[in-house]
């Protein structure tokens, strides 16, 4: 390098001037000469980069000292670095987010401005940066809070829908009992009362009435049985999910293949999974026009995945969203998720995934 003594003197003056201006400023600033070497750092920059003294940085190559790697640890080649470009092009560079390396090798996120500056040896760059770690942390907290709020709102809406669905189910149950069994047993009673009257005077008619009473009582019992099975099938308690699904699917108008993981589930989860499948298969019955469906459960990484697929017309063409919302709510109540994929004329697949606390297993 061929520097004149005059230039060196001028340089000392320039940096001494900068030093006096920037010493008390909280904004970290440093200056790089045309060769890319650090010529000046203010105290804020020295502290932010984890050094004790300006002498430790001055004369060092800027990129190789504080900018040589990415946050994931991979090297950051100097050719890719835009921070020092103002030296060559005269432009001003701004970056919302980059990463600098401290003396101990740890990294911190920064926002920086890099502008050309005339140094005694030619065009260099002055870099002013801000440590944005705190800003990022706050933004992250805000984001998390927003997400939590959105989730809570969604959960409240889901809970309301679950309660409404429960109320609607109770109303339906009362109506079914009223129109069904109650009516049939009332008819039974009426037929028997009339039989009583006609017993001696019109024995043939009385006999016919008894027959009708028996018929009414029988359909009353059948109605109650169906109703009870729909509310909570006894076999779910006695024999578990697989047996209950076996019984349920035997009554459907299409074939259902069951491929269920042999895992003991907590009773409440088992019931929820049963009703989830029951509701999903009811959707298939109502909308899909399928001739085969498949129910698969897999236990993996502490999560139970339930997949219900059919080979029907696909739900895209019919707005069965109400059904899916109820299913989504059911899963959300268990901290689970539901994904629906459907292709016209290629069927629908529901994939539910819910976390499970490790249960009692006999394996290993």
């Amino acid at each position: 390098m061929t520097e004149t003594p005059l230039a060196t003197t001028a340089a000392v003056d320039t940096y001494a001037f900068l030093s006096s201006v920037l010493a008390g400023i909280a904004q970290p600033v440093w200056v790089v000469d045309p060769a890319g070497e650090i010529r000046f750092t203010n105290p804020a920059a020295i502290a932010a980069l984890g050094y004790d003294d300006a002498a430790e940085l001055e004369g060092k190559p800027s990129h190789e000292t504080i900018h040589y790697k990415h946050p994931d640890g991979t090297p950051y080649p100097v050719e890719d670095c835009s921070m020092l470009r103002p030296r060559r092009t005269g432009e001003t560079i701004h970056s919302d987010e980059d990463w600098f390396v401290r003396r101990d090798g740890t990294m911190f996120p920064v926002e920086y401005w890099s502008a050309p500056i005339q140094t005694p040896t030619g065009r260099g760059a002055v870099v002013a940066f801000t440590d944005i770690e705190e800003r990022r942390r706050l933004a992250q907290m805000t984001r998390e809070r927003d997400i939590a709020e959105a989730r809570a709102t969604e959960a409240r809406a889901g809970q309301r829908r679950i309660i409404e669905a429960g109320d609607a189910a109770r109303a339906r149950l009362a109506r079914d009992l009223h129109d069904g069994a109650q009516q049939q047993f009332l008819n039974t009673l009426l037929h028997l009362r009339r039989t009583e009257q006609k017993w001696t005077t019109e024995p043939e008619q009385a006999k016919d009435l008894v027959g009708r009473a028996v018929g009414e009582a029988q359909s009353g019992i059948e109605g109650l049985r169906e109703l009870a099975a729909g509310i909570h099938p006894a076999i779910l308690t006695t024999r578990g999910l697989a047996a209950a699904l076996y019984v349920l699917t035997g009554r459907l108008p299409f074939r259902v293949e069951l491929d269920l993981a042999q895992i003991p589930l907590p009773p409440a989860v088992e019931a929820s999974v049963y009703f989830f499948c029951s509701e999903a298969l009811t959707n298939v019955t109502k909308h899909a026009k399928a001739d085969v469906a498949r129910v698969t459960t897999v236990m993996e990484d502490g999560h139970l995945t339930i997949q219900i697929s059919d080979n029907g017309i696909g739900a895209a063409s019919n707005p069965a969203a109400g059904g899916f919302a109820a299913l989504t709510d059911r899963m959300a109540a268990l901290d689970g998720t539901l994904e629906v994929t459907t292709t016209p004329s290629r069927g629908t697949t529901l994939t539910a995934r819910l976390p499970l606390a490790p249960g009692p297993t006999n394996q290993g």
Partner: protein, 221 residues
């Protein structure tokens, strides 16, 4: 009705008093000897040990747990008294128990819906069959098992009449019993049975309880 050489001794397990009384009446009026009754599973086991009857008629769902206590009590009693007939009554239409009951043989087992008790001829026929080592499964339950949607297979090749016969075999009926139900001759039934077993590729010519087992195993998905 054929005369019974020896009076069949029965213990009844049912927790609802009115219905228990109803079962006892039906059985007594049909010539069975009800030697004991029980309202819960532990009591049922004690009665069965004390009386060693030919048959236990028990509600599947009983105290103390109201799950399948009656079923478990009856099977437990049978483990210590081989040959004890077990006829279970169910409030629910569940073909699953049928497959469970025949898991190790279809001899002296039955499963019927509770309301069949009121169809006296059918119920007492079931009681007699199970007490004498036969099988009796509820027509509606078997219909569920036979009607279950399944992959295309040899079952599709059965004629309507053959399907009717298959269903009656699964209920545990003998050839004369099937003939009576369908109002055809016994030899006509034998003819259908041969065809069915050929089509399904099942070994034929076994005792009634063996062919029930073969058919139910075939129907099991």
């Amino acid at each position: 009705m054929m005369s019974v050489p020896r009076v069949i001794r029965v213990v009844v397990g049912e927790d609802q008093p009115i219905f228990q009384e109803g079962i006892v009446h039906v059985l007594q009026e049909s010539g069975f000897d009800v030697v004991g009754t029980a309202g819960d599973a532990p009591e049922l086991i004690r009665r069965l040990r004390a009386h060693r009857p030919d048959l236990v008629v028990a509600d599947i769902q009983m105290p103390p747990d109201h799950t399948d206590d009656g079923l478990r009590a009856a099977l437990e009693a049978r483990a210590s008294q081989p040959g004890l007939g077990v006829l279970l009554l169910s409030q629910f239409l569940e073909d699953r128990y049928v497959l469970e009951l025949v898991a190790d043989g279809a001899q002296g087992v039955g499963y019927v819906l509770k309301e069949r008790v009121s169809e006296i001829a059918m119920f007492t026929d079931a009681v007699r069959r199970v007490a004498t080592g036969g099988t009796a499964f509820d027509p509606d339950v078997v219909a569920l098992l036979v009607g279950r949607p399944r992959k295309p297979g040899p079952l599709d090749e059965l004629t309507t009449r053959e399907r009717q016969v298959l269903k009656l075999i699964a209920e545990g009926r003998s050839n004369p019993g099937i003939a009576e139900q369908l109002v055809v001759t016994v030899s006509a039934v034998e003819h259908h049975v041969t065809h069915i077993f050929d089509k399904l590729d099942l070994p034929n010519g076994h005792a009634d309880h063996r062919r029930v087992l073969a058919v139910l195993k075939y129907l099991k998905p």
